[in-house]
């Protein structure tokens, strides 16, 4: 492991619990959820006037562990390249918070959590949640940390949707926003891939209408969903570069074995995912993404009305899951409302995964952009 990966040292996931009955969280659907636990991590130090806090939000399968190392683990958090001393989100200067989402399975309340009323996992009795609900829960966390105004809200993919939702829901609570490889609303192609993933989960006989806790997991279904997902995160060029048509040599000969490297990779990714992610959470969160539409009740010219925050938009040329035109649509909304915007389309071949991989460009952009955010 490189020294840089160690730079933050050991970190821990913390939990905030709130919304105990009768003060439950009122959800977008009209249903109530409580008590709610939200998992989060923090890096760096909050300054005296609480003006250096940056909220980072993760993508579909991410978690609160964005950087540093957990005790006894080998791999750092999912955005360790970007968060730490001297990095793009410099923890010598900034207090970085990474929040998990409700509906997830990484320490926050979700379908695999125990419903206090029944003392069993919620499973499908868990209410539908939206990106707005995720942000509502995070807003409680930011209140709890006594931060009135965030320096920035930053996220890629679904994290970018949350960043946009933050700007729309609470325009006075941040001085800047950095939505990366994201969109104002899911397009049919994005919904289509999510639906294939959900159908794979629900077609698994072990899924049993979501009632599988304490039984065999719908592992094949979730693995297939993840395999489809991984295809959409890469690009034709990045797959060709990574795998080519290279054959796996150690595979036992069989008619439909994983002959090619790419097959082995997808199988490995699929199987690995099952160990760390709950199938019902996958259903709930992908639905939240599909239903996300900031233009549902507002025109493009109204969506950022009154927004004072500076916005940095980053898209990636080969990203066909969240194509550049979707970031350009966000840019249009900025222009129509006179929002101070910077937009870059990074010339990357990594596809949607680029937001995790194009570290040099993102470091340069974030570092200078954040320095220029007015106090």
């Amino acid at each position: 492991m490189s020294k840089a990966a160690n730079a933050l040292g050991l970190v821990e996931t913390k939990e905030l619990s709130f919304a105990s009955p009768p003060d439950e969280l009122l959800l977008d659907s009209g249903e109530k959820l409580g008590p709610v636990t939200l998992a989060y991590e923090t890096y760096g130090t909050l300054n005296d006037n609480k003006s250096n806090a940056i909220l980072v939000m993760h993508a579909l399968s991410g978690d609160a562990h964005a950087a540093g190392l957990h005790a006894g683990e080998q791999n750092p958090g999912w955005w360790d390249d970007m968060i730490g001393p001297g990095k793009g989100l410099d923890t010598n200067k900034y207090f970085v918070i990474c929040s998990n989402v409700i509906g997830g399975c990484k320490g926050s309340t979700g379908p695999s959590s125990i419903d206090p009323r029944t003392e069993k996992p919620y499973a499908l009795s868990f209410p539908s949640i939206t990106i707005k609900d995720m942000v509502e829960a995070q807003r409680r966390l930011i209140d709890h940390l006594n931060i009135k105004k965030l320096l920035s809200v930053v996220g890629g993919s679904m994290g970018g949707m949350q960043a946009l939702q933050w700007v729309v829901s609470y325009p006075d609570r941040m001085r800047s926003a950095v939505p990366i490889a994201t969109t104002l609303k899911h397009a049919p192609q994005q919904i289509a891939f999510d639906e294939v993933g959900r159908q794979a989960v629900m077609a698994d006989v072990n899924w049993r209408d979501g009632d599988y806790y304490g039984r065999p997991l719908p592992a094949r279904g979730l693995a297939v969903a993840r395999m489809v997902g991984h295809i959409t995160y890469m690009s034709d060029a990045s797959m060709a570069e990574k795998f080519g048509r290279q054959q796996k040599s150690n595979e036992q000969p069989s008619k439909f074995g994983a002959d090619f490297e790419v097959e082995g990779y997808l199988r490995y990714r699929g199987d690995n995912f099952v160990k760390r992610f709950d199938a019902n959470s996958y259903l709930y969160i992908t639905k939240a993404m599909d239903r996300f539409d900031l233009l549902a009740s507002k025109k493009l010219s109204e969506v950022f009305k009154g927004v004072k925050a500076k916005i940095l938009l980053i898209a990636f040329k080969s990203d066909w899951l969240y194509p550049t035109y979707q970031s350009q649509e966000i840019l249009k909304a900025c222009k129509l409302s006179g929002v101070d915007a910077t937009f870059v389309e990074v010339n990357s071949t990594y596809g949607h995964d680029a937001f995790l991989l194009e570290v040099n460009e993102e470091t340069h952009l974030l570092k200078h952009f954040l320095e220029g955010v007015p106090a």
Partner: protein, 191 residues
């Protein structure tokens, strides 16, 4: 600072809002922020140039200026600047119209193709000219259109564009015979 930039910085009032079309590495916008505390926004098509702008603390969007102006509201900037970029777009006419719509005032600068050195090089050299303000060989020039000061003034008259101010630069600022002697021309325009 380039003389051309000095003139533009001199023209713009403190605290103005400025949109620079084809802002390149952001030198002009950075000078405007420093000298005139303007609210600056740039549009630039080149990704590498965007990184330079961002390093200067500028807000800049990576777009083609031929399509990037449509969402800006009418008169949403005090100044829209086309510093040496109008002759590089495919269709200068709609770009200038859009600039005049979006800006209360528009500043345009371009290399004067009727400068005497250009004339001499064509007349006696029989070759496409290469001069300090037109420094490129024919096969690598970003300039798609070649116009003179007289051409531009005629164009403005034809389109009903009001010329509020002008400056003509050679080895300094020029007054007499600009179409023959100026290498670069600058105009402040309004619709």
């Amino acid at each position: 600072m380039k003389l051309e930039h000095e003139v533009i910085v001199g023209w713009i009032e403190k605290g103005s809002s400025v949109l620079d079309l084809g802002c390149g590495n952001g030198d002009l916008l950075a000078a405007l922020v420093k000298e005139k505390q303007v609210k600056a926004q740039g549009i630039e098509i080149d990704e590498k140039a965007i990184y330079e702008c961002v390093a200067k603390g500028l807000s800049v969007v990576q777009q083609d200026i031929e399509t990037g102006l449509s969402e800006y509201l009418d008169k949403s900037f005090d100044y829209v600047i086309l510093a040496g970029s109008l002759q590089q777009v495919k269709k200068p006419d709609p770009v200038l119209s859009a600039a005049l719509r979006v800006g209360k005032k528009t500043i345009v600068s371009f290399p004067n193709f009727a400068h005497y050195r250009v004339r001499l090089q064509i007349l006696f050299g029989g070759r496409v000219p290469v001069t300090p303000s037109l420094p490129f060989e024919w096969y690598e020039t970003p300039n798609l259109h070649f116009l003179s000061i007289s051409n531009f003034i005629e164009y403005c008259q034809k389109r009903g564009i009001h010329i509020e101010r002008s400056a003509f630069l050679g080895r300094g600022s020029l007054k007499a015979l600009p179409n023959l002697r100026a290498e670069t021309a600058l105009f402040v325009l309004s619709a």
